[in-house]
């Protein structure tokens, strides 16, 4: 007996999802992708301005370490802005070619996801797949389940419906919320994939979306990680080689080396941390080079003044001088 088409629809979750997603995406035919892109550009410019102000303040107060960190942040934000700035231009050229969403196409997307990814599943509005075990520079981070909440695809924030959940977590030693250099609290920071991922979800191209996220999880961007792989198992003190938490670490103001609380030497005058080799003893104090030089100079001036006073006193006390 031939099955009724309606029962086929009920039996195939991929078909149900395709119909549901088509209806969602077609409900908002006039999404202004250019407007959204410009909102992102403006917000990133605001962030850049804020970082620039902080850097200027740090530099004016000679907070060397803070200035260094802020400079790196500024560089990362400029790269991020460049990626976003590509989008409005492409939007002007491409929006007229936008292809309408079709149920059959979305169904084909879901079939491809099931065939080419592991553990494909559909649970209500959430479509998910599981990656292969991810290894980055010798660190085994395990498998990740990528979840896309398709109910978010039709609004202006489809990227907010993405989660990357560690199934075999090997988180950073000092922060369990970081399970991957670019994943914190199960949220992947999308970087270069933001724009193509946005368009993929807007078009219902779930296979492309999963592929983009999978590739990101397999890529290590050392310059813009929540935590670098070098520090994945804790920060290393450059003096003693022991591993310490981030809170316990300080950095030599002279050379930038990381120091644990036991190895750092705090200058008795300026109070900044230094490696032992970048400090000198003066009396019962331990000083950095700058404070040491200043202290020596001050001592020399003091001695000169004392000598001058002594000489004057000698002249005053000299009987011949008195007679004269």
């Amino acid at each position: 007996m031939k099955s009724h088409p309606h029962s086929r629809w009920r039996d195939d979750p991929k078909l149900r999802m395709a119909v549901h997603l088509t209806a969602q995406l077609e409900r908002y035919p006039g999404l202004s992708t250019l407007e959204q892109a410009m909102d992102r550009v403006v917000s990133r410019i605001s962030a850049l301005q804020s970082t620039w102000r902080q850097l200027q303040l740090a530099a004016s107060r000679q907070w060397t370490l803070s200035a260094r960190i802020l400079q790196q942040r500024l560089s990362d934000q400029l790269v991020d802005l460049r990626n976003y700035c590509n989008h409005p231009q492409a939007g002007l050229q491409e929006s007229q070619h936008r292809v309408s969403v079709k149920t059959r196409t979305i169904h084909e997307e879901l079939v491809a996801c099931q065939e080419q990814f592991n553990q494909f599943s559909i649970e209500k509005a959430i479509v998910s797949v599981v990656t292969d075990p991810i290894e980055l520079e010798g660190n085994n981070l395990g498998r990740f389940r990528i979840e896309i909440d398709t109910s978010r695809c039709s609004n202006h924030q489809p990227l907010h419906g993405i989660q990357t959940i560690a199934l075999d977590p090997n988180p950073a030693a000092n922060d369990e919320s970081i399970t991957h250099p670019h994943v914190r609290d199960d949220l992947l920071c999308l970087g270069e994939a933001s724009v193509p991922l946005f368009h993929a979800l807007e078009d219902g191209r779930l296979f492309d979306a999963f592929q983009l996220i999978d590739r990101m999880l397999h890529t290590y961007n050392e310059g813009s990680a929540y935590l670098t792989l070098e520090d994945w198992n804790g920060r290393t003190c450059e003096e003693c080689g022991r591993s310490s938490s981030e809170e316990d670490m300080s950095y030599c103001e002279r050379c930038g080396n990381g120091l644990c609380s036991r190895c750092q030497v705090v200058c008795d005058h300026c109070g900044n941390p230094y490696c032992f080799s970048h400090t000198d003893e003066l009396g019962d104090e331990r000083l950095c080079s700058r404070c040491y030089d200043q202290a020596i100079e001050a001592q020399a001036e003091e001695q000169e003044e004392e000598q001058g006073q002594e000489q004057q006193q000698e002249i005053i006390d000299d009987p011949q001088e008195q007679a004269a």
């Binding site: 936008r98 983009l212 397999h218």
Partner: protein, 73 residues
């Protein structure tokens, strides 16, 4: 003939493009992503991997995705 192209390197827009009959996937890649190596990309036709000599057919769906995509923080 017309094909459907998705270039995920950059904007990630999907669009229809006109290509000559007999165009191979490699020829299309070299035109759309000039100066780059194909081995640095996942190239799919109708969501399946194909040989570099694969000849495109009318209405086929081509996607080009970098193998390395930098995340952020």
């Amino acid at each position: 003939m017309q094909i459907f192209l998705i270039n995920n390197d950059g904007g990630g827009f999907a669009r229809t493009v006109e290509v000559a009959e007999g165009t191979t996937i490699t020829q299309l890649f070299d035109k759309e992503v000039p100066g780059r190596r194909a081995e640095d990309y996942l190239i799919r036709v109708d969501r399946q991997p194909v040989a570099s000599s694969h000849v495109l057919t009318p209405g086929c769906r081509v996607s080009i995705t970098p193998t390395k995509i930098a995340g952020a923080k």
